[in-house]
Subunit: 663 residues, 3 copies
Amino acid sequence: MQGTPQETALQTIRYGGDYNPEQWPEQTWLEDVRLMREAGVNLVSLGVFNWGILEPAPGEYDFSDLDRMIELLHENGIGVNLGTPTSSPPAWLRQSHPEIRLVDFDGRVMAGGSRHGVCPSSPAYTEACANIVERLAERYGDHPAVEMWHLHNEYGWANVECYCDTSAAAFRGWLAEKYVDIGQLNDAWGTAFWGLVYRSFDQVETPSAAPPGVNPALKLDWKRFSGDAHIANYLLQRDIIARYSKAPATTNFMIPNCEDMDYFRWAPVVDIVSNNHYLIAERPENHIELSMSADLTRSVAGGPWMVMEHSTSAVNWQPRNIAKTPGEMRRNSLAHLARGADGLMFFQWRASRAGAEKFHSAMLPHGGTDTQVWRDVVSLGGELKRLAPVVGSNVESDVAILWDWESWWALELEWRPSEDLRFRERVEAYYASLWKQHVTVDFAHPESDLSGYRLVVAPSSYLLSEAAGKNLRGYVENGGNLLVSYFSGIVDEHDGVHPGPHPGALRETLGLWTEEFHPLHQDEAPALDSGARGRIWSERVRLEGAESVAAFAGGPDAGHPAITRHRLGGGTAWYAATALDDATGLRSLLAEVLDASGVQRPAGVAESVELIRRGDHCFLINHGDQDTTVPDLRGTDALTGADYDGDVPVSAGEVVVVTITKE
Amino acid sequence: MQGTPQETALQTIRYGGDYNPEQWPEQTWLEDVRLMREAGVNLVSLGVFNWGILEPAPGEYDFSDLDRMIELLHENGIGVNLGTPTSSPPAWLRQSHPEIRLVDFDGRVMAGGSRHGVCPSSPAYTEACANIVERLAERYGDHPAVEMWHLHNEYGWANVECYCDTSAAAFRGWLAEKYVDIGQLNDAWGTAFWGLVYRSFDQVETPSAAPPGVNPALKLDWKRFSGDAHIANYLLQRDIIARYSKAPATTNFMIPNCEDMDYFRWAPVVDIVSNNHYLIAERPENHIELSMSADLTRSVAGGPWMVMEHSTSAVNWQPRNIAKTPGEMRRNSLAHLARGADGLMFFQWRASRAGAEKFHSAMLPHGGTDTQVWRDVVSLGGELKRLAPVVGSNVESDVAILWDWESWWALELEWRPSEDLRFRERVEAYYASLWKQHVTVDFAHPESDLSGYRLVVAPSSYLLSEAAGKNLRGYVENGGNLLVSYFSGIVDEHDGVHPGPHPGALRETLGLWTEEFHPLHQDEAPALDSGARGRIWSERVRLEGAESVAAFAGGPDAGHPAITRHRLGGGTAWYAATALDDATGLRSLLAEVLDASGVQRPAGVAESVELIRRGDHCFLINHGDQDTTVPDLRGTDALTGADYDGDVPVSAGEVVVVTITKE
Amino acid sequence: MQGTPQETALQTIRYGGDYNPEQWPEQTWLEDVRLMREAGVNLVSLGVFNWGILEPAPGEYDFSDLDRMIELLHENGIGVNLGTPTSSPPAWLRQSHPEIRLVDFDGRVMAGGSRHGVCPSSPAYTEACANIVERLAERYGDHPAVEMWHLHNEYGWANVECYCDTSAAAFRGWLAEKYVDIGQLNDAWGTAFWGLVYRSFDQVETPSAAPPGVNPALKLDWKRFSGDAHIANYLLQRDIIARYSKAPATTNFMIPNCEDMDYFRWAPVVDIVSNNHYLIAERPENHIELSMSADLTRSVAGGPWMVMEHSTSAVNWQPRNIAKTPGEMRRNSLAHLARGADGLMFFQWRASRAGAEKFHSAMLPHGGTDTQVWRDVVSLGGELKRLAPVVGSNVESDVAILWDWESWWALELEWRPSEDLRFRERVEAYYASLWKQHVTVDFAHPESDLSGYRLVVAPSSYLLSEAAGKNLRGYVENGGNLLVSYFSGIVDEHDGVHPGPHPGALRETLGLWTEEFHPLHQDEAPALDSGARGRIWSERVRLEGAESVAAFAGGPDAGHPAITRHRLGGGTAWYAATALDDATGLRSLLAEVLDASGVQRPAGVAESVELIRRGDHCFLINHGDQDTTVPDLRGTDALTGADYDGDVPVSAGEVVVVTITKE
């Protein structure tokens, strides 16, 4: 949550889901509201996709169903999270303004019959958005049931980039505003390479298909522009609503599975950060990815936030939509809560009979109320009432992992030294290893204030601006501990290599330079003399102040440093020149670095148990299939009221929340 | 064959192939006709692709070669199956009417230099088709050599769907005719989902690229429309020809390897059902797929039919065009005959020297007459004369498998619970297991009269209309036996989930409902307590009248029913909630169900022997590499005249046809 | 080198690389020139991509930087290889003439921000090329530093084929010139197949997407036309420059990794053949592919040539850009030298900080001069001075492998008998086996004079014109030895099957014909009775003069010939009807054929040692990890001055060059 004046603090845990009454006869509405009350639902997202129903023809409106539904919920004490329907423009708008259709990278004009598919820079679309939003805001802006505004839906999904002429012109305008003078752009983009210099902004084209490799700086600014085009649409809507309503506005982020939106740019413009998270169903230990999502969302928000969508069980858009196992929905929801969520909303309330998502699970499944899913939904609703005291409290951490969407984008542009260099691969490796050692982490932008952390980890920080480099150096000099992995600090914000040897932005901080990169063959896994084993990457490290902690024992850099440590000012900077994983050396490296950094971890806790402290609550989530005990906790069970004085039993698959009464 | 008045009964087995005299000098024609007679050829398909030769410029005609060729064949007692050349429009038509070019899903305009590539809804193309067909019909309509008309070629191959503006308008017209009122369309398509409602038919777009998921009901009607566009072209041609000729008309189907044509809609409009079938060369046991093709073609035809194209050996368009092994061509041809074919035609008579298909095998290969292929062609021609008595007789079966192209389409639209849900995967699993148990099957549409069958199998009947559901219920209540596999009866004809729990259309018939689907991981294979092993699918079955025959012993539904049986009225409905294969439990399940249904199977016959009864002929085809004996047959060898009184020896790779004289 | 009058003989080994001073401040220029001298650089490629800098707006020029740079190099005794910048047209040209943008197979219009992406047939582009080339030629044509002209860059990379309307018109013009009469085209292309006949040239379309299979003869002529469009651009530039300059002109070929340019057509139009070669980094034994590249380039050139680009270490555009191992750069460079290169140039001099290729290695890496790469560059420069005596001398060979780009194209068009039929697969199998037996080979066009060779190998000569067939027959009859692999001599220059049985162009020469092709299953590997083992292919060989040397012992042709030998006139023609590899029978077959052909090989040389004789120099390159000795050489070490009289030691990874003083 941002500290804006119009913010409505969440004083209970918000619980509910998307509801689309237009899909059902009115008698079903009454049943639905009765069941919502049974489940403890206190917030419903309405109207996320109903533009075509509210405005069946240009300037013709029909709010009758929405009026009635809002009243019905209000009468039943259920709040409304009111959507603006702009992510699914009506067929008449596409018909009367065919120029609004999104054009993709391959030049294909997107068809209708789906949502999205619209150019975010289109004037006709923008005008129509402003109009429908204003109609909604003036009609419902002061309705007491409207507790929150849900603007658009999933900005940046399936239509992130538009390559139409309107977008091209908007891109050129964006560039002119950013660089003012074309010479500045030429310098920033390094257009001397391949003679790609521009004489004026109107010579710049969008980076659609153009083999071979397109100027990476052009692509990077294109991604920035494309994100900003969506932010502009959000701001337009937000400002209209603010004229009519005091309720806070949000839009649902998709952290971390939307690569294309830089949520560090989004967070300041929303009143409440809300996020959609869906498990990657076929991935082993996917609950760790959920934890990472929650930690990153909290870090982006700078405090509590809410889950706008997650699922009670399977989704419908993955290759194999594996259903959740017994207790998994509860573990997922409570893990979000533990990591800072003040609201737990689902897509969706009632499973649809038609359309693209009818096989997506819901709070109320096709099978009705005699189902385990429904019983679990009711039970969770009851538990959340008992857990209301956690609302507004914070999660604190001694460790931060650097995260930067721009670095992600840059690292995965064309023509890097190895296609195995993947941003999330390294971040997730470090995150998972820390998770298994019960270390709760924040994520931090490389240019942010890091002074509160005992340890900062930079798993794959390819792009680091000069300012970020200085920030990290200052952090170490002032006593911080920094652990950097390979191929970090290589380029600046325009994907230009920092002057001098790699890693330019970190050379002095790490006390070393790299003579040559040695990407490894696909299955190559050289040993280190520490017994660890690397993958993906090797390089010729030249020490320049740092000392070698472990050396390569094989591969192209056998005998040369693989892990180094550099004392600088009051702190220490570590470097790992190859890819270690939890089992192949990362766990012991991290243990050593955590110890050296003075980061405490709980002792005697099984690896499968997720242990998170939020305010004065300690959440224990057992993801394993063995019953276990967590030692050394004193307090009260927030769900059962039981007292603990030391060992807390946590059965397989169970969640225990302890209100700590004595540290 | 359909019982239409103009039908010419096939009184001999038609034998021959496509012939393209325009590719050869006239002296080769004489050699060809001599060799045709040597091979016993009695029907030749002429003119399938010669539009550019017959009409070299608009309104300019040259029938001289075709005149001479028809005379030459006629003089030699060989019939003509006269093609209309509309599947390969001439270059001048593309040049003068560039708007006829087909536009594909990605918006690409198809180039020339190939066949197809034309919009089936194009007025200019349609007009040009009508003209050339009328010219052919008036010239050759009463020629005594013309025994059959071969309209177009392979409707629906490589140009099934056209996304051009003309097609879009035609689609809207088709929808307006079907739904009359746009409200009906909105209801049928469930457009309330994502607010995709239409105000008028002219707002509907073709479902070209539009991520994410497009309304599945739109896609389903698009596939129906696209098929109808081709049927309309056929009907245009058929009606013109009928004004000049009494010879029956056909077009070559591609069963089952063309997914896009609903041949249940096509069969009533042709006078004779004819089919192209090519082996999937690299597939093990591909002769079973051939059998399935023949059974399905017969079922679609409702009686005897003909093979319009198969190959003497390799084709040219598969990744590895494996040639046929010794005897394989004969086994293939006679298997078609056994399963109801009254004609056995090849593509093509003489191997081409140029063009895209020059490496396709032919009756007369590049190597000439001193080749095994040629000797086999001559030998087969001789045998077919002796087998003429089978013409017109029927294949009868106690077992039907449900088949529905619309269900196939619907099941494989976007966003199903698992990508492993594939229509043919399940149908082929059940078909193969029945084949190996020597059960000859019919295929039946779910809404057709099933009362003649002892057992009906529904391997993957995802889409079942309410009428189909009632039909199946009535079938069981009236004493039928029904075996249903998972994910059947889920949606109606608009891909809308039937109200209530799954499987809506079959819930009462099966005596159960499904609480939740549990798609399995890729390599997950839970055991059943019967010793069987499932794949792909599991689900939580809730009994509601049915009894459990076998339960899951592992996986997400361990301890819950996997196979059930429901006594209903005079019949029984079985359900299999997971994917069994012949070796992992399907064979024994089918054996149990066949026994319970009173379906007789021949005893003592080796698994590799295909045994089919057609009229009073029994075909024995040994696909194995061991000689064997089939017991308990009494009759005369239709090829050698030998008498059998009990055991009939069938050598490895051989075919024996017994005229049964005593049951 | 071609024997043209304007040729400047290379009297020293040219050493240097691409240099782009526009990417650096002027103070860096001075450092660069100092370091160039330290490294022994004597030639620098300038201005390859600087059009946008030289001509910042239409008709506005700025040669000041280039003037200064040329003077600076000249003052330092370094020659200039002056580029024409036409491969990277400036943004203003794309803006003012949007019609120059290349349209790809899928109809996508190529964007800017990259190089290439332009229609080679575009009049506006052509005119702008001519203008900037003329400006350069008049300004620098008689400058003494300009020793060579580097026209364009990598013709045919990333924009080989353009499908725009301008290209379509140019293609039709090219066809009209080639065939004169449309009837000739119809005959040549076999358009009777599928009725694809044309009435006039303006009915021909470019072969963009048009499923199913497009006429292969159309595709083949399209590839010829597309190559010629690039040659036309080269000739335009060459002729302009020749009016101002006597320095030789070249353009950098990409042998053998550019499939699309027929370098047999290119070689006669350049004054010096130059080539770019980059290792396929992840391929085992990729030094053999380098040898093949060098031998093919020498054969195309008809004598000495130069390397225009290779790399000091890793490139940036492969999936994993593996760096070179210690000594590998030197082995690579000297292998090129050994096989006929008179110049060894790198891309590029100094590693770029920005743009698409900043992770490409360079002579001067990001790490600067305290690096192994730099030390190796300096050391190699020194050695090349000592090796200057090899300049101009020749490599001679007793063995030729047939090579024909048109046959490569034809073989890999759609719809061949097996997708495993790949041109390079077979050529490389034969080449590698000969390499390991220390046989240096030439490559030869099938219609060229072969009389100088003891043995000619035709590993995959699918397309052989009638003239080529006669040429090979004459070669054998006159005493030559020919070894042919399967699927050779099948089609003529229009991809038309030669009349009669396969292999039409070789039937009489080989003394056999093929009854049927039997492509093998993916993992099928039938044994031969010789103990060899085949892959990919089998066929039914019918002897007609030849004798069987080995027969298939398994597979579809068990008992029939697999290897045959035919005595014809004074020579012998061998045939291998399946794919043998070095270890599975090819080595012993080649040994037998080499012996029978009287081809000498050095005895007692380790397999890992590359031994090549160029003039009176013998190069010994040890690619293995064991020290070894090469016997029987007498002479002086060209690098160290040591004397050898018999055994020459060659350490692991080392290169020894012996000036032979006594044979």
